[in-house]
Amino acid sequence: MTSTVTPNGFALDDAGQRVVVDPICRIEGHLRIEVNVDDDNVIRNAVSTGNMWRGLEVILKGRDPRDAWAFTERICGVCTGVHALISCRSVEDALGIDIPRNANSIRNLMMLAQYTQDHLVHFYHLHALDWVDVVSALSADPAATSALQQSISPWPKSSPGYFRDVQNKIKRFVESGQLGPFANAYWGSPAYKLPPEANLMAVTHYLEALDFQKEIVKIHTIFGGRNPHPNWLVGGMPCTLNINDVGSSGGVNMVWLNQVSDIINKSITFIDQVYIPDLTAIASFYKDWGFGGGLSAKNVMSYGEFPAIANNYTNESWMMPNGAILNGDLSTVYDVDPRDPEQIQEFVTHSWYKYEGGDPARGLHPWDGETEPHFELGPNAKGTKTNIEAIDEGGKYSWLKAPRWRGNAMEVGPLARYLVAYARGQEDIVAQVDGLLAALDLPVGALFSTLGRTAARGLECSWTAHKMREVFDDMMANIKAGDIATANMDLWEPATWPGVAQGVGFGEAPRGALGHWINIADTKIANYQCIVPTTWNASPRDPDGNIGAYEAALLGTPMADPAQPLEILRTIHSFDPCLACASHIISPDGQELASVKIR
């Protein structure tokens, strides 16, 4: 290759030093990134390799469709429940099942709680250490830290003594010489820009957020019995509402409703008084670091999420809208239809799969998809099959496929959702975005960056926390009006189903667009397929050479020291990778399980 320009407009040059980062830590699953840097240590080529494959769709064949939510929920324990919900939607779509209004509200509450917890944990525990220097916090003045905190937030845990206690705790930890998860990292790197006081504030909130996140998910525990991996139900929700009668402890009663309400209030307070002020403060020190935009300035997509109207999965109902933007033209937003075989296709030219017969470079819609695992390294790879030193991106190089929308590589996730909602002029989102940009004195273009992705996730976390209040109040009004139904069991029995049915469940996971496509034959799953957010973002190249969002976002980024991959981590983490989600197989329609070749 050496030097080339991709059809989607990115210049690649693999002449310089190759840097390998494997594993990328602080993510879900196993991911490898390789880059080439030029003489000025600027990234000129980037390669994203999905390092795992589990084969869940193969496993689903022949199962009871009503069980599919439990299998697919285990695709991911970080965005727990998300796949379960989309799975229920796919079965309900195939069988024509309408869910009750309360079930829709409860599902929305659970999904909103998931977003709120997931985004919070991502910011503090998976991403913050890319911006925050833990060791620098040791030299902070607790009084100055207190003053900083009190200047940006009314959060009560802000006294000098409090910060001194936390600082002493960190000191004792460091002095022990056993640095645990903070060992061998990049502390002291010139890429860190925060003053010691901001570092101490952020590290303190790292600890507070770790304690608080477990409260948010109790909404799952109340409605779904536990977290991670709460229970769901095709046709509604398994929990019952019993407000008035004997035995109400067998259902969601006033005690539990009060608890949900309390969790919502506490979540709003924590997000708005801790997360958002921290995000704004940290961003203000990194305003000059505008790298990492990649595909976000060109192509973004959202399927839409949070139906305000039960069983209506269109923009009439979505509280977070559906849409796609191409070539950065915010004046035109296209509708996205996951059913349309012309819109969504997957390619395997650079993936460790092969298509049987026909053109091996063709794209297939999930309802017609086929896959056979086919692990082979490209001719220019370095090392051996079981000891890869360098990937050859000219050949097959990832366990992820390359999904495309109308042939385009798309970025998905919080920034994509916010750009779609902003472009559609949704007032609450526009107000949030304009407010943050004004506070930081930045133009709209600043959103197309690593920091823009991180900021959109924070804004969305606040949006979902507040949205829980709205959904909860609406549900209470519905209960007050006498409706306590939580499940529609009319079509529960397989005897009531048609011989053949096909459906799609789609929506937005915290990390982006998520779709499950199901074919049912003789009451069993004949085919089940998922395209998940990280498959879009971490996608390898397609047959035309278009690069995906991870690879695009890394280009042009200068590294302070190529031996320390801090800048790579910063940008890759801004997508919140989830590789267990991304690594999948699609099996051909009607193909027998045995045809999956196992060597």
Binding site: R26, N51, M52, W53, G224, R226, T386, A487, Q564
Partner: protein, 363 residues
Amino acid sequence: MPAQETFYEVMRQHGITRRSFVKFCSLTAAGLGLGPGYAGKIAHALETKPRTPVIWLHGLECTCCTESFIRSGNPLAGDVILSMLSLDYDDTLMAAAGHQAEELLQQTVDKYDGQFILACEGNPPLNEDGMYCIQAGRPYVEKLRYMADHCKAIIAWGSCASWGCVQAARPNPTRATPIHKVITDKPVIKVPGCPPIAEVMTGVITYMLAFEQLPPLDRQGRPKMFYGQRLHDKCYRRPHFDAGQFVERFDDEGARKGYCLYKVGCKGPTTYNACSTVEWNGGLSWPVKSGHGCLGCAEDNFWDKGSFYSPVTNFGVMGGAEATADKIGGVLAGAAAVGVAAHAAASVVGRMTRGKSKETSHD
């Protein structure tokens, strides 16, 4: 577990001089950007008892075990990680990446050979030379075997590590294999569940630290104190089972009154776990309490035992609270189980039998 040697003692035994040790401490302090005063403090800490190192590996999994672990209310996950043990490697949480992360594995082996706990989340796939799960360019199973060679004991977190779980459900395309079938020369403590309860996870590990011994295990390798009894026998809905009051379908009158979920598929009668006693997320609720039957997620191969909505038929109803996993397991192995035949469906039994034979053929 014998008392741990200090890092300093281990270094001296490896022929490292006091002078080199002090230099190491200075370099560690300098590497962290700390002043020279910190070198003495680090030296002091290393000369006294260290926190037990834990290496937490991830194979094929979904990270629900880690997510569950950080939900622990007592003790708080932050306190466990920062004060009770030393989490020296965990790719989900650690700040370092790439070769800086992988170096820590060898450092732990060098410093704490035979002393560290290996916590395994997920399992290794064995097909395709192990390359269905690649870490640092190599098969995960290699890393697992190497670290297992040098550890003191293994905790198999969750049903993936304990039994295989969802990716090992038939036809198990990657040949995902539980830890005890790959590592056979080290104690393996199974903490099954998909995921396990947070406080059970922190309970098991703090038990090992506090009492300096492995927890007593049942015949299947699970800590007896948490996996010794059936959910069914401590279920708060059990009186409804005994009275014949069942939920006939979801959201019916019986469901709203908290009747027994047996007929809509609850696997509590065949599941050994602490959900009905410890409960979830700070003791707030658990699946049965919130209206859905137990999936049986702590049991071996629970994915291949028929639909989650088909009633179980092969359990002893008379076991009662005295029926431990070992006793019931023995009965089931030796003779036909006393079933609740009235609710049995022939198709369920057929499906279960088919599942079993498939499982064996892929084992």
